[in-house]
């Protein structure tokens, strides 16, 4: 088990990189997922179709395949995902701005994939709002937008909190794939490195990275439980 102490900086560095991509991907997925959810519940059929198609594609594709498309498909299309070099963000998250695009590719894959689940979590929350609420709002003359903003979404958030949290936890665990698509130095790739290049025994290393993931996921789960107690719909 001495590897945990000897190579603490490797584990810490891996944890830091995994945390970075998870924070970015969570923000991206929440935004994109919310947009898709709005599309899916909108009264305009073509918009609904777009949202439904999106969810059906990305929810039913293995993440590995999405990753492949991002890491090897985008370059084939001549893109290095440079649009993600967002001026302020890339100084906070230096990997966003590097000439090596694999961090950005991995981010795109995680966001696209997770957004489908975020969308469904949000929609289930909307469905939990009694239909009478929306009908009452409409009879008061509120538009679809006002209805969402003031009546439906504030209530649906409460029902969405727990499923959303589960989606984000799943995303953190899914981020273990990025190390196999060109991102160097995240938790799982660091483990790969320690066991194969440096010849450390597998089990202690695996325990080390497991702890890394647990540090991210367990508090999140605890936080969700508290939120649920405070926020969630009292029935």
């Amino acid at each position: 088990m001495s590897v945990l102490i000897d190579k603490f900086d490797v584990f810490a560095g891996g944890f830091w990189l995994t945390l970075q991509i998870c924070v970015l991907a969570a923000i991206g997925a929440l935004i994109l997922g919310a947009v898709m959810a709005v599309l899916r519940i909108s009264p305009v059929p073509p918009l609904r179709a777009v949202g439904t198609a999106y969810v059906n594609i990305f929810r039913n594709m293995p993440l590995t395949v999405v990753m492949f498309f991002a890491a090897f498909g985008l370059p084939a299309l001549g893109s290095n995902a440079d649009f993600l070099r967002i001026p302020v963000l890339d100084s906070l998250f230096t990997r966003l701005g590097t000439d090596l695009p694999y961090f950005r590719f991995a981010l795109i894959a995680l966001v696209l994939y997770t957004a489908a689940f975020v969308c469904e979590a949000l929609r289930s929350g909307v469905n939990a709002v009694p239909a009478g609420q929306a009908e009452a709002a409409r009879s008061l003359g509120l538009t679809f937008g006002q209805n969402l903003r003031h009546v439906v979404l504030p209530q649906s958030w409460k029902a969405s909190v727990v499923p959303l949290g589960s989606v984000i936890i799943a995303m953190i665990k899914n981020s273990a794939l990025i190390g196999f698509f060109g991102v160097v130095g995240d938790l799982s790739q660091s483990a790969d490195q320690l066991t194969s290049a440096e010849g450390y025994a597998f089990i202690p290393v695996a325990i080390g990275i497991s702890i890394g993931y647990l540090i991210m996921t367990v508090p999140l789960g605890a936080l969700l439980d508290r939120l649920e107690k405070r926020q969630a719909v009292a029935r």
């Binding site: 990997r95 090596l100 190390g179 196999f180 060109g182 194969s196």
Partner: protein, 292 residues
């Protein structure tokens, strides 16, 4: 009471088996395997008795161990392993090949999943802490693959200014080596699980170079001469050895003897010419096995 009976039965069974085994030995004479004799209790004797052997090799390394349409891996590593198997008196069709990517090589030896590993396995001290190496049977060297029209990269020092990006494979010796030459690992180094992905990244322009042992790169050039070339000379020495259990000195000595024999009788050179030699790589003179 019952225990006694069990013990008696067990003892009888052991005796019977022992006798049967002795009888078996007599019957063995005259078959292909019986012509070899090894010290009692040695790994060689065990393998020869069992008439089967498990060999760990790569399945995705052109010229050394690549599983093709035949369903069996082919290449220089595989041929060298076959020379050892032949010396053990085991027929080739009794070899069971196990895929051993870089990251599992020590583990499969320590756990006894395979009897030996021949998988572009660079001999180094860190690995010697857990396993032992026979050989080397080939001296490779690290080199750099670039696009044909690229004249900006001339060697490992071209990465020092921090602008050029390079790709290698996670956990490989070349990846560790190139880390010493790049300015910033995070912005200059990409690691994949196979060199094929590195080649694709080079073709797509996400990286400027791929680095690993020269023979592997030569394999890529052989397949696509219009796109790639080597940048400069080999800048490291990578002796490939055969991995065996750390404490098994007899087996290691036996493999070293076998390798020396193969260096001298031409079978080593033939193995090379039939496999990796096709890519135009020079074999050079035979290395000296290191009996530590």
């Amino acid at each position: 009471m019952r225990m006694k009976r069990v013990a008696a039965v067990a003892a009888a069974a052991t005796l019977a088996l022992g006798l049967a085994a002795c009888g078996g030995d007599d019957a063995d004479e005259g078959t292909g395997s019986g012509s070899k004799s090894f010290a009692a209790g040695s790994t060689m004797e065990k393998l020869n008795k069992a008439q089967k052997i498990k060999i760990g090799t790569k399945f995705d390394q052109p010229g050394f161990g690549q599983k093709g349409l035949s369903g069996k891996p082919e290449g220089f590593d595989v041929e060298v392993a076959k020379l050892i198997v032949k010396e053990l008196g085991i027929p080739e069709d009794k070899i069971e090949y196990v895929e051993t990517p870089s990251k599992v090589r020590e583990d499969v030896i320590v756990n006894g999943t395979v009897d030996l590993v021949a998988a572009t396995y660079t001999i180094n001290d860190k690995r010697k802490e857990r396993i032992a190496f026979a050989g080397p049977y080939y001296e490779a060297g690290q080199n750099i693959l670039v696009k044909k029209d690229d004249s900006t990269i001339t060697g490992p020092d071209s990465f020092k200014d921090g602008t050029k990006k390079v790709c290698s494979v996670t956990g490989s010796t070349p990846a560790e080596e190139i880390k010493k030459h790049v300015k910033d690992v995070g912005t200059q180094l990409v690691l994949f699980d196979t060199y094929d992905k590195c080649r694709d990244a080079l073709k797509g322009g996400q990286v400027d170079a791929v680095t690993t042992d020269n023979v592997i790169l030569l394999g890529y050039i052989a397949k696509d001469e219009a796109s790639f070339k080597l940048a400069g000379e080999n800048f490291t020495k990578e002796p490939y050895g055969i991995g065996v259990k750390k404490e098994d000195n007899d087996f290691r000595t036996f493999i070293n003897d076998t390798l020396e024999k193969a260096f001298n009788d031409g079978s080593w050179k033939k193995a090379w010419d039939d496999t990796a030699g096709k890519f135009g790589a020079e074999l050079g003179s035979a290395p000296t096995v290191n009996r530590y």
